[in-house]
């Protein structure tokens, strides 16, 4: 039995990793407002995976970590318009259960894992050629 890492320690860890750029390639994340003591609102970006229609595009997302994070997954929403299964076509909300990598949420999962999972999802052979709205549009 290992001790559960409390919410805020976990978020601080993730914040440091995000700011130092230690995370996976192609993804970045950080607090929307660095004065937010609750560390609830986050921004994320995904650099479109190569060999796909997303190549050279940058997708912005917002992530909301509720009080129960990381026991419950955060809410994730695309700001940049994207056509991708699992992403609501009208408001950009991501249905995490559609992402193989995070479908069964586990408190060890991180925001980075979600972003990486989304990036893989975009690069999936059956998704990477989906027609996309012009770059720069937002939900």
């Amino acid at each position: 039995m290992t001790a559960k890492v409390p919410r805020n320690f976990r978020l601080l860890e993730e914040l440091e990793k995000g700011e130092k750029g230690l995370g996976a390639d192609g993804c970045s994340y950080g607090l929307t407002d660095s004065d937010d003591v609750m560390m609830s609102k986050w921004n994320g970006t995904i650099l479109g995976p190569p060999h796909s229609v997303h190549e050279n595009r940058i997708y912005s997302l917002e992530i909301y970590c509720g009080d129960n994070y990381p026991d419950s997954p955060p809410q994730v929403r695309f700001i940049s318009k994207i056509n991708l299964p699992g992403v609501n076509g009208t408001d950009g909300k991501v249905d995490l259960s559609k992402l193989p990598r995070v479908a069964n949420w586990n408190r060890d999962y991180t925001m980075e894992r979600i972003l990486v999972g989304l990036r893989e999802h975009m690069a999936h052979p059956s998704h990477r050629k989906l027609p996309q709205p012009a770059e720069g549009q937002t939900f």
Binding site: G18, E19, K20, S28, G44, T45
Partner: protein, 383 residues
């Protein structure tokens, strides 16, 4: 705000606060950079441009999950000591409104077409070759190599091909083609076999050894020698000691000039058959006609496709398929000896994602389908 206050900390408030941070782009190393916090993002890009190869107007900077806007400052994005800013190179600006006027609104809905492909040519991977970019650069075949009758005669001999590939400008053009990821992607997409290979094909085409192999004149010579050997084994056998094309192809080239007319360069005309030379004058071997009509064409067609593909300086479309098939038969081609788990790592991952977790079954299915995920799926679902 404290500039007028004669406080102890005056010195620090006068000299602008600097921040030392890193910038990182793709797979490159991190670079350290030190700038005043009041620096605008645009000026930051200019400073980064001096330390990297990317001009400021093609940089996009990302920090903490946000794309940085040019008119903001480092301070407003809370860039602090020791943090890392990601720099993403943006694609070259597309040619101004090249396709929008001609194709109308439909263009917007379609996935973007690589910018080096002219708008009218659809998905033709050869289109890039005809662009101005390659003008005078790549050796597009001139009339001479098609023979005196302007293309109706036989294809150029292996020697011509090899010589052409040996030219530095041809090799440079090949290299440039292979370095263009969009073109590679199209080649892979337009070819079912390559598509099935997925990432492997990508890696293979990027692999310098492979490129070297298909552009190496020596390799071409030995390949055509191989082809001739195979052909020999099919219908007859080469004369003792005649292991090479040299005597044969000389005759073939000579015969080529004579054999005007029939578009099939490998058809009947005895003079065009390189092996005719080996059997001397008044001693026509009886298997020769059989060879000409029977075993010949398929081999010959493949070879012809390889030649054509090479001739265009590119390995794409159907020619590419033939070329790869042909290469498979060449001993020096690197044989993929990796264990199947490694070789099919990408496909296995995909199968896993789709809910197939039985490694052994997945491997068997992939082996049966030659690494094609779709085929493996059918196998897994059917069996």
């Amino acid at each position: 705000m404290s500039s007028s206050a004669p406080a102890e900390g005056e010195a620090s408030s006068e000299s602008p606060k600097v921040v030392k941070f890193f910038f990182k782009s793709g797979n490159e190393d991190k670079h350290e950079i030190e700038l005043p916090l009041s620096t605008t993002v645009l000026d930051t890009k200019k400073a980064i441009a001096e330390k990297s190869t990317v001009p400021a107007d093609r940089q996009r900077l990302i920090y903490s999950g946000r794309v940085m806007k040019d008119d903001q400052t480092l301070e407003s994005y809370k860039v602090t000591e020791g943090t890392t800013v990601h720099m993403v190179k943006s694609a070259a600006k597309p040619a101004p409104a090249a396709s929008s006027s001609s194709t109308g609104g439909a263009a917007a809905a379609r996935p973007p077409v690589p910018t080096n492909i002219a708008s009218g040519s659809g998905n033709n991977p050869l289109a890039g070759l005809t662009g101005a970019r390659y003008a005078g650069h790549v050796q597009l075949p001139n009339a001479d190599i098609f023979g005196p009758d302007g293309g109706m005669g036989p294809l150029p001999g292996p020697e011509d091909m090899a010589n052409m590939m040996g030219r530095p400008e041809t090799q440079a053009a090949m290299n440039e083609l292979f370095n263009n990821p969009q073109l590679l992607e199209q080649m892979i997409q337009s070819n079912p076999m390559l598509r099935g290979m997925g990432d492997q094909a990508r890696q293979m085409l990027r692999d310098p050894t492979f490129r070297q192999m298909i552009t190496n004149p020596e390799m071409l010579r030995s390949m055509s020698a191989m082809q001739n050997m195979r052909r020999g084994a099919g219908g007859s056998f080469p004369a003792p000691g005649a292991t090479d094309t040299t005597p044969g192809s000389a005759t073939a080239a000579g015969g080529a000039e004579a054999a005007a007319g029939p578009p099939n360069p490998f058809g009947g005309a005895g003079g065009a058959n390189p092996f005719a030379a080996m059997f001397g004058g008044g001693d026509p071997p009886m298997y020769l006609p059989g060879y000409g009509e029977g075993t010949g064409p398929s081999d010959e067609e493949i070879l012809a496709q390889i030649r054509l593909a090479r001739q265009m300086g590119l390995l794409g479309g159907a020619g590419g398929l033939g070329g790869l098939g042909g290469l498979g038969a060449v001993p020096p081609a690197p044989v993929d000896n990796r264990p199947p788990e490694e070789r099919y790592a990408e496909q296995l991952r995909q199968l896993n994602e789709m809910g197939f977790y039985d490694l052994q079954r997945n491997l068997r299915a992939l082996a049966a389908s030659g690494g094609d995920v779709q085929g493996a799926l059918e196998n897994l679902l059917g069996g």
